[in-house]
Amino acid sequence: MSVIARMLDTAPRPGGAAGLRVLSASGQLGNGIPEPALRAGLARAPHVIGCDMGSVDPGPAYLGAGRMATSEAVTLRDLRLVIHGARQCRVPLLIGSAGTAGAAPHVAQVLDLVRRIAREDGLSLTLAVIHADIDAAWLKGMVAAQRVRAIGAAIPPLTAEEIDASAHIVGQMGTEAFLRALALEPDIILAGRACDTAIFAAVPLLLGYPAGPATHMAKIIECTSLCCLPGGRDAMLGTLHGDSFELESMNPARAATPVSVAAHSLYEQADPLAVQEPEGTLHVASARFEAIDARRVRVSGATWEAARQPTIKLEGAAPCGERAVALAATADPAVIANRDLITEGVARAVREILPDAAFDLRFRAYGAGATGLYPGAATALPEPGEVFFLIECVAAAADIAKAVVGVAKQSMLHFGFPGRLSTGGNLAFPFTPPEIGAGPAYRFSVYHVTECDDLEAHFPVELVTV
């Protein structure tokens, strides 16, 4: 009997006194799952175990390059822990946003690690692998039909050129894809890019739980114990009763309180009151949070509004050249005071030496406001005693980028300016060589929402036995 058939036989349905236990084992699989809390969660006999592996937080490089943000060693460790944990409990394991970004190469890398674990540990496993790569031709058609919109003002409307420039484009799948995969009764679902909530809401929906509370619970537990005081990465148990659910961290040192859980709705959300999913919208404005005891909370009242028009959130990354950096510092008050004049002069000098090269050269003066994204962030900063310069170049070729930062650092070292005293050099280099090739640079080329009339066609499921 498959673990899913067994779950369908034994798991409580809505309204049952015991509740459906959903264990969130990791919000960032591959960064090191804390083992004591995972063990405590497994001891509670969950009906399903979920893990999120992905995020856009680390930036476009991972999606663009097809690389995981986590190390192979720790990812292997974490996968081994949850695979064995799910087998021990004889329950399904759902993993979403495989390999950080959830495109084809990320899914393939995680599948390879699962194969290695199966081989080394003598396991036989059936996986339902759900792909999340978006077909470029279809997407161009949707752009042409004006059915794609940007998610924010920082990115322009999507074009066919940007689609072609992208190394990878993925769509965030919702529960629809997980439900199709569950129907195949695998031991493990390994999903490409997925909505965090879909990983944890799919089994409750399969069992007939109402979508509002099920999705709200999923939204909170997908970050494991981050909704607690103090927040952390320990496994989190959600127990769903139907109209309400209970939350408990599997680390006894972490407390879920009504305010800590409500506050989690703010985290990384542009709108704390409404969460958009492919199949609809979760509304949490009417949610109630009550303490059960000092470290457990009961939540109820969230509602679900099914979408008239299903949508897919798209993420794409494009290469934009090769990056090189040079690192240097100054402790000279005159250099610090004249830093803008110096860097502008150096930029001109580099352009004179390399007149035909296409490159993008930037100077960042750390200690003097380089961290601020907004113009107002740099006001009222005290004049620094020392400044760290990050000289950065992005160019079409790695040797050009390195040449540019090399010329820039040398020019900056000896740059003359009015009032200069220390003619030995303007800069202190922390090591040699101070120029470092930083590899390909990427940017998010796609961060848009497309309408979609047939979600099933875009997230194909494949059964794999290892």
Binding site: P60, I155, L266, L273, T371, P375, G376
Partner: protein, 105 residues
């Protein structure tokens, strides 16, 4: 007896920034209780216009969302650069809260 402090750093429990996706930055200001939250939510120092002036951006790119259930005020701002693109300074957006530290309600 001195008057109670009106400095945001003395009243708030959490003052943080983070991306909400690569196109938006959010500022979360959380208070220890409903009374303190009530003072903050009525203060002009945390209005859309005041936040826009503090960060020197167009008020049309700023939204202030009070969230009473968490005794919190959320601010959502357009990012001037897409997270992680060349020219970005803070890929996670986690160090953009500093201007709030000087706010007096």
């Amino acid at each position: 007896m001195s008057a109670p402090s009106r400095r945001l750093v003395d009243l708030a429990q959490v003052i943080r920034s983070k991306n909400a996706g690569p196109l938006h930055l959010t500022l979360d200001i959380m208070f220890p209780d409903a009374a303190t939250y009530g003072i903050a939510v009525q203060s002009p120092a945390l209005s859309r216009a005041a936040i826009a002036a503090l960060y020197a951006v167009d008020p049309a790119t700023v939204e202030v969302i009070p969230f009473a259930a968490a005794n919190a005020i959320k601010v959502v701002m357009d990012r001037p650069v897409i997270a992680g693109s060349p020219g970005d300074t803070d890929v996670y957006g986690a160090q953009q809260h500093r201007p709030l530290l000087g706010v007096v309600l």
